[in-house]
Amino acid sequence: MTTARPWVQPSVLPGFGLTLGIALAFLGGVVLIPMAALVLKAASMPLDDFWRIVTEPRALASYRLTFGASLLAACLNAVFGSIIAWTLVRYDFPGRRLVDAIIDLPFALPTAVSGIALATVFAPTGVVGRWLEPLGIQVAFTWVGVVVALTLIGLPFVVRAVQPALAEVESGLEEAAESLGASRWMVLRHVILPAISPALATGFTLALARAIGEYGSVIFIAGNLPMRTEITPLLIVIKLEQYDYLGAAALGLVMLCVSFLVLLAINAINGWRTQRMAGRR
């Protein structure tokens, strides 16, 4: 049985062929063939047409909004997510466990629900929007709303990535630094930040990856004005509704390539973390 398969180590355990067969059949049928259909569709058009579609002004405006808002949301999450992680790890206060559990809500909450909830709350007449309106801050139907929605869905990634890293920073190290006369700022800059930065990078990239592809929670609050508050995934949906399959496939390929780049970044960061961890031992 093993002689025919030089690419697999012999084992006494049964079921290799069956389970790998099932896994590959699913992977092929559900993921790989459909993805290949997208790539082939985009590749079936002349390069000029492809280039014209993916660089038309409306598409460029949508990239700017999608990537800009995603980057901004990931930065906001890096700052506030770290503060929240710090609060949850270092302080005890009434309701801490509840707050800790709530952090995961954006993972479990369907995006349509968070979408209509944010749109209602941040509308000029909404609970929060009402307070921001006199300050001249309009959230709903502007790019700010897109950032708010993307911040919501990205928050758990940063908090959950940073929490364990913060818990691992030996407080003895901080105390030693402080007793040697280091200011709080120096402790933060030279002890805490270096210790959590790989985890923070992972959380940031995961939040960014999630934000770039997000659709449901954004479209209700964004207002979806072409050239202004239209994200790329929405532009793909609009092209599909107009039966412009080629246009949708071209934009889809652009997004797929960006996803791959982010995936590579995540793997690179993970490699960096493993290396650092190995170096510490």
Partner: protein, 290 residues
């Protein structure tokens, strides 16, 4: 870090510490409050704004009932299929060494990093009227896109990694000795899996199934692309939320949304319970924690 440290406390040390603590807690609670708690509370408030009777009436319109049924049916097909895939993939990856294993694991993760809209788009390009198999399906009079099979396929794709992703690291950590012992004592493959492997992976398995189910019932983007929004026929609960919201039926939209939120809360409670039982905390549900 709430206790004073160092041999000689600097002047005002305790005060500054308390100030930082108060500021950190304040900023955290304010941020979570504005971005998470208030919107979630708003869903409940708007759902019950016009009273319990209006809430029940909104949930029992024929279209909404059909949407609930479609969502349950989709999850009932997708979750077992992805569970079967996840278990099979985890067995192959964790119990055997073969070339290309890393590629396989990376490809299983792929749907996590793809936009839900792309997950719907690929099936339209395959099975839509102008898709690769479109003309052929038309001849057979089978519709996949804008019909139930499309919804199932799109949901399968977005929830694809959930169970496998939970099981692979756990089963890799557990090694192979127990199974090898069972097999060498004469147990068959199935018996070994059910009696030896399954008891040790039941919590992570349940964890993956619960997350997979939550995503399957709540998926919006991928399903929106392939559904065609035919009321009462191809409208799942999240799509029904969108339709009602766009028609300014806020009570109806938030009533359906409140059910989905209940699902999310139940998912979180179960998830937290499993984390308590297994003693694993603060986990990233996606990549990065292996």
């Amino acid at each position: 870090m709430t206790t004073a440290v160092g041999t000689e406390a600097r002047p005002g040390e305790g005060g500054a510490r308390a100030l930082i603590r108060a500021a950190a807690i304040g900023v955290s609670l304010a941020f979570i409050g504005v971005i998470l708690v208030i919107p979630v509370a708003a869903v409940c408030v708007h759902a019950f704004e016009r009273g319990w009777d209006a809430y029940v009436a909104a949930l029992t319109t024929p279209d909404t009932v059909a949407a609930i049924r479609l969502t349950l049916l989709t999850a009932a097909i997708v979750v077992p299929l992805n569970t079967a895939f996840g278990v099979a993939a985890a067995w192959a990856v964790a119990k055997f060494d073969f070339r290309g294993k890393h590629v396989l694991v990376t490809l299983i993760d792929l749907p996590f990093s793809v936009s839900p809209v792309i997950a719907g788009l690929v099936f339209v390009l395959l099975f839509g009227a102008q898709g690769w198999f479109g003309p052929w399906l038309q001849e057979l009079d089978v519709s996949i896109v804008f019909a139930f099979p499309g919804i199932v396929l799109a949901t399968l794709l977005v929830t694809f990694p959930y169970v496998a992703r939970e099981l692979i690291p756990v089963m890799q950590l557990q090694g192979r000795e127990a199974e090898e012992a069972a097999v060498s004592l004469g147990a068959g493959g199935w018996t070994t899996f059910v009696r030896v492997t399954l008891p040790s992976i039941r919590w992570p398995l349940l964890y993956g199934v619960i997350l997979c189910n939550a995503r399957a019932m709540g998926e919006f983007g991928a399903v929106a692309v392939v559904s065609g929004h035919i009321r009462g026929l191809t409208t799942t609960m999240p799509l029904q939320v969108e339709i009602l919201y766009n028609e300014y039926d806020l009570t109806g939209a938030f009533a359906v949304a409140s059910l989905l939120m209940l699902l999310a809360v139940a998912t979180l409670v179960l998830k937290t319970a499993i984390e308590l039982v297994t003693g694993r905390r603060h986990r990233l549900p996606l990549r990065g924690d292996t």
